[in-house]
């Protein structure tokens, strides 16, 4: 039937169009030779003019990594073996030799950010620009989303308040003591296969320090982008909120469309001291591969926050729509008494995407509290797993957790899985787990269409309603973007 074929073609066109960040920037890059060995680790460290202690730390990690096995069995993910020797571990635009102003930045790079909708032009004193000596995404590392609040006053204003916001490479040079004091203290270099690899070869990322009693007056944001082919991206972010400090931070990610899979193995460490609050939001939109599952980013990320101080709070909000594979468990170590951990997650998988994501809440201190709200949406032939650990240690008197996991299925070829682990070693603790699974019903779809919405708008509206509890946790400026993204990610999933 030609009519049917037409429909199929239309759906395909929409699906393929939907990833609008899939372009490549043509720019000459300074590449490390392919492969991974101690020389490459030294090469990266030398490129970044790092102190001896950091090189030693990288090498220790590399040696540990060589003895480690890839965690391939417990997560509900399937993918061919990754050849870790077949990638460049360092790639930087040749022209970006620490430009001091945007005039020195390659115009091709500036155009890229224009295309991505990330305005840099008026932000010449932006932290990320000065720290642009590394690979391509480094300039994105601190490229900030919100042009209005960030524009010209951004860095000066932050510095006035004693807030440090720069690339981690710059922090290593300018604030070595702070970096040395905290780096690897939340995610140790032996933590897991991907995190350990990251310790050995991390290239850039963001560094934030908010001093005692300071409330960071604006959203800090990092925009990650992978451009170069055959590279992995290994960024490292470290955020420290000193006593009584508050900071809200957001990261965004996109990558070009390529037929090969690219590895992204990031580590994010958060440290909240007494009475401090860190709010960390992610809108992850890495290239997910095409509808047959070719290409896309392998996103193996270790994110962990330590609530070290009393009454401290760490809140993770994530909207995961991209990547071929997502392996990610942003966690909280609730060490300080009365500390609070939160995890709000929307994970959407379509076509052949696979996501195994969730959180770990480790209750150590007294009266620690954690909240988990996870919304998984599966469409196409995708698989979406929530995997979460709530662990109450013996001294965590009065600890409380509430977990809510909701799954929504679109179509009949996708999968939703919920795997909660609960370990309680304190009798006074209270742990609650609720889970639901639902399908978008024919009734709902027809009701929306009868009221004039086309099927894709209807699905977008229904799914946004389903995710509302999580989306409302996002900073205002990004909530609207996220809502749109939710709709776009599901294009082609009905009709």
């Amino acid at each position: 039937m030609s009519g049917t074929q037409e429909t199929v073609d239309q759906v395909r066109a929409v699906t393929e169009q939907s990833y609008k960040y899939g372009f490549t920037t043509d720019i000459e890059a300074d590449l490390a030779p392919k492969g991974l060995n101690e020389d490459i680790v030294r090469f990266i460290s030398a490129k970044k003019e790092e102190p001896e202690w950091l090189l030693e730390w990288r090498l220790k990690a590399f040696r540990a990594w060589q003895a480690m096995e890839e965690p391939r069995y417990w997560a509900k993910l399937s993918y061919p073996p990754i050849d870790y020797q077949d990638a460049h571990y360092y790639a930087a635009p040749k022209t970006s030799n620490r430009p001091k102003s945007l005039d020195e930045v390659d115009p091709e790079l500036l155009r890229t950010y224009e295309k991505l909708g990330i305005p840099l032009r008026e932000q010449e004193i932006l932290a990320g620009v000065e720290g642009t000596e590394t690979k391509m995404p480094a300039i994105a590392v601190d490229a900030v989303f919100d042009s209005v609040s960030v524009a010209t006053t951004f860095k000066a204003k932050l510095e006035e308040m004693g807030i440090i916001f720069c690339s981690i490479s710059e922090a290593v040079r300018e604030h070595p003591d702070l970096v040395r004091q905290y780096l690897g203290t939340v995610v140790p270099y032996t933590d897991n296969f991907y995190a350990t690899l990251n310790c050995a070869v991390f290239t850039d990322g963001s560094f934030v320090y908010v001093p005692k009693g300071v409330r960071c007056p604006m959203e800090l944001s990092t925009y990650f982008r992978i451009n170069q082919a055959n590279t992995g991206q290994f960024e490292r972010t470290l955020i420290i909120a000193d006593e009584g400090a508050y900071v809200s931070y957001l990261e965004g990610c996109t990558a070009p469309k390529r037929d090969e899979n690219q590895l992204h193995a990031a580590v994010v460490e958060l440290v909240a001291l007494d009475n401090a609050t860190i709010k960390y939001s992610t809108v992850q939109n890495w290239y997910p591969g095409n509808e047959d599952g070719v290409g896309g980013i392998y996103n193996f990320v270790t994110k962990r926050g330590a609530c070290r101080g009393v009454n401290s709070k760490i809140s993770w909000t994530q909207v995961e729509t991209g990547s071929a594979i997502t392996w990610k468990y942003p966690s909280c170590i609730l060490q300080g008494d009365n500390s609070v951990g939160e995890f709000y997650s929307v994970a959407i998988t379509n076509n052949r995407q696979q996501a195994d994501t969730g959180t770990k809440m480790i209750h150590i201190g007294k009266n620690t509290k954690s909240t988990i709200v996870s919304k998984g949406i599966s469409a196409g032939r995708s698989n979406n797993t929530y995997r979460g650990l709530v662990k109450i240690l013996p001294k965590a008197d009065g600890a409380r957790n509430h977990t809510q996991c909701d799954s929504l299925l679109i179509g009949d070829q996708c999968g939703a899985h919920t795997v909660p682990y609960i370990e309680s070693r304190n009798r006074s603790a209270r742990v609650e787990h609720e889970a639901t699974t639902a399908k978008i019903s024919e009734d709902q779809l027809f009701y929306c269409r009868q009221r004039g919405l086309d099927p894709e708008d209807a699905v977008s509206l229904i799914v946004n309603g389903f995710c509302k509890e999580v989306l409302k946790e996002l900073p205002m400026e990004f909530a609207v973007e996220a809502q749109k993204l939710v709709g776009i990610s599901l294009e082609g999933s009905v009709g």
Partner: protein
């Protein structure tokens, strides 16, 4: 306005509509009465374009268009509105948000400018007031936790905002007490006009005391068995469906 000719339709391969002929003129209100399983709801779904309701024979012409070739959302934009017997819940989506999306989707399809937040707010305030509905109901998620009466009132509100040209009311009276029925009927009557036609589907004559039809049709076994004026409803109430060759238990 609407001309249905020899309409046959199947659901899951089973023929439910077996040749319906019905013509509704501009501004007319027609009632369809019939026992359970007579095909009343099937007719409303076929007219609105629901998937799974397959037309095997016949035609439906709506304002000169072949209605059956249009997608449900296209029919909606052309002014076809179905007030559902069981309005559907959409968790997390505020009633106003839903209505605004719906109205603007239709306007866009018709090439009319979309309403901005302020214009929409003004419109919905006015309509809510007329239906004696609370602001609270607008903020709540679509039909979630609504009582039967609230749901039907909400359908009437949607109709008032969307201003259809042809409205199908599918058992709007079911689950309503007498006060709620009166409010809903008043809302519907307020929408009657020379350029708006309605098809009122009901099981009982009671609703027709409030929404007085121009014509009444008795549907049974997938066909219209008899048509007449509003007095036909009373006759039916008195004699029961059996008089019309219908086994009520069917």
């Amino acid at each position: 306005m609407l001309e249905i000719k020899n309409l046959h339709a199947t659901v899951d391969g089973k023929e439910i509509l077996k040749g319906i002929d019905l013509t509704i003129g501009s501004g007319e209100v027609h009632a369809i009465m019939g026992p359970n399983g007579s095909g009343k709801s099937t007719l409303s779904y076929v007219l609105a374009g629901r998937e799974g309701y397959e037309v095997t024979e016949g035609s439906v012409t709506y304002n000169g268009m072949d209605l059956l070739t249009l997608e449900p959302e296209e029919r909606a934009a052309e002014g076809v509105f179905l007030a559902f017997q069981y309005p559907v819940e959409i968790p997390g989506v505020a009633n106003t948000t839903f209505l605004k999306y719906a109205l603007n989707a239709m306007r866009k399809r018709r090439g009319e400018p979309e309403l901005d937040a302020l214009q929409f707010l003004k419109l919905i305030r006015e309509k809510t007031k007329a239906l004696n509905m609370s602001d609270d109901m607008l903020k709540r998620a679509v039909n979630v936790g609504f009582s039967g009466g609230e749901k039907k009132r909400n359908e009437t509100l949607q109709m008032a905002v969307l201003q259809p040209r042809f409205a199908i009311l599918d058992e709007t009276d079911s689950g309503l007490d007498i006060d709620a029925l009166r409010i809903v009927a008043d809302g519907v009557n307020a929408l009657r006009g020379a350029d708006r036609s309605m098809l009122v589907i009901t099981h009982y004559q009671r609703l027709l005391e409030y929404i007085v039809p121009d014509r009444v049709h008795v549907l049974a076994h997938g066909r219209i068995q008899r048509s007449g004026g509003k007095e036909l409803a009373l006759e039916l109430e008195e004699k029961g469906y059996r008089e019309f060759g219908v086994d009520e238990a069917a």
